[in-house]
Symmetry: C2
Subunit: 350 residues, 2 copies
Amino acid sequence: MKNSKLVQHYYLGSGSIKNLEHLIFSKKNQDKDFVVFVIDHFFKNNLILSELPVNVNDLTLFADTTDEPRAEYIDDLVSIVKQKKQLPVAIIGIGGGSTLDIAKAISILLTNPGKAEEYQGWDLVKFSPVYKIGIPTIAGTGAEFTRTAVMTSKIKKLGINSDHSVYDQVIMDPDLLHTVPKDQFIYTAMDCFVHNVESLRGRQNDAMTIAFAQKSLEMMKDIFLGNMDLEKLMVASAMGGIAVANSNVGICHPLSYGLSLVLNLHHGYSICIAMNQLEEYYPEVQEFKEILRRNKIVLPKIINDDITDEMIDKMAEATLNNERPLENAFGPEWRSIFTKEKVIDLIRKM
Amino acid sequence: MKNSKLVQHYYLGSGSIKNLEHLIFSKKNQDKDFVVFVIDHFFKNNLILSELPVNVNDLTLFADTTDEPRAEYIDDLVSIVKQKKQLPVAIIGIGGGSTLDIAKAISILLTNPGKAEEYQGWDLVKFSPVYKIGIPTIAGTGAEFTRTAVMTSKIKKLGINSDHSVYDQVIMDPDLLHTVPKDQFIYTAMDCFVHNVESLRGRQNDAMTIAFAQKSLEMMKDIFLGNMDLEKLMVASAMGGIAVANSNVGICHPLSYGLSLVLNLHHGYSICIAMNQLEEYYPEVQEFKEILRRNKIVLPKIINDDITDEMIDKMAEATLNNERPLENAFGPEWRSIFTKEKVIDLIRKM
């Protein structure tokens, strides 16, 4: 039985990012104390974050999120922070899921020895991390409320799954969402939609995760088939994150990992490509398609003549490496149901 | 704008109380370390808790919950704990809302100077309390997830409202609910029902509290007008607690405080007596009445000939002392809407 961990503090609402200043202030006791900002490189020279309370001592790292976070990249960023002769009093992640996950990983690697890849897996982190604040600038990843710092190494996409990955403080300011390009906004929101479906249709849930996933899914439908409400969307993302963090994903995430690993696709996009073919497993795919239609999103066929059989084989292998989610979806006999042949068949349709 | 605090860890599920042992074990570093159990006196000599992991060094306080927690009673219990020459490593509250609130208050008073009544109010606690674990044995109060330790002194019913009142760890084990007598089970569950209605119909809510209150209310209806599910009920209680802790109560709680103060009634019961007369403000009272009917609960008329005008006047005054909830319900001009005459009129019907 799991001891579920929640984010301890959150601000929610328009303008709530202004609270960052006093949060940082309360952590700094001495002149030499500093914080590390980990900001999505998208915001370099972007005015929306120009009013951040950055002090001359602080360190700002613009996280390159062109690709999904790689373990070696985390190690590089940690080395930069370690050039300072003391630990920061806070790590502040500002961005999408990748940036939030990079900040989580840095907070852990600063107090735990070795390399990032050594912590890919479940509950491998030993020492308390640096205090961290998460500020999402896109809604849907749930990264602001989960215990996972997603990460890829050369051979696998597997996060640092640990209570130590959970943010101490989250600030959900819907004003920040205005920065997101339309397509990416939808792809990322659909990540939340999929979290809820996979959590609800899996076997590893309980009354709490079911309540969170049901409410989050209901809110997603209200928002995308009814009225857009950015604050509500941030809450749906948070609740979807809590649901999936305490249950598990299912069929769609493993397939998307295969796509992301081989074709270097961003998570939200590959989630949408995969979900689009899963109607036989998830009836909610109908609503998912309706949401895409209403938002004039047309998903291209990405498995075309340029994709070799070898690449597809690698995608299928990467998909089938995700034992826990697939057991959650199909039960202990999942290998006899979700065969490699079946997986390749699904991938070819994408 | 509020920095909302959540319980950091929770266990949920049948048999989850067994996790108490390793939680305590992880806190004890030295032989002389001890924990304080604060247990509802109802459980004295009750077998259901006979397997608690109590060590010879530990201190067990059976909390007398005949009346609502009084500030002086808290002080007495704190004195007993202080006879030990060191602080406990944990306070473990096991019981209903009163017991959980007493345990919260003790954890605070052990590290903050002065008497309990000095902390009645909002954000008056200065120092971090002793680590605490809350184990509800009845569902609905939400006390396991709120930032309030309800308390009465001679002149007022006003809790210790503080982030320091929030439990560090909660264990929600539905098996414990089998101990509750039927009537009390319903009265306490209705406390949660009312939390949700007051939160949703108030003005001080946001997208998060609305989502929690809506989901909790929906679950309460599922449970009491559909199928009883104790694990689900514990989740509904928790979510109602989070909702009300981060928004506010409305009309029903102030009225119930007046009843409790003058007639010494238990919270859940006085909540039901008050809610029963509030259909003009809350349409959900219809469903509330339907739930009582289905459970064969008939509320007596408690304002009878034995109740003097002076007592009713005192109840009305105690009701109108609750400025924050009443402003939440009616807006800043609440005094001109919810007049003393109106309050007395409502009370006379109860």
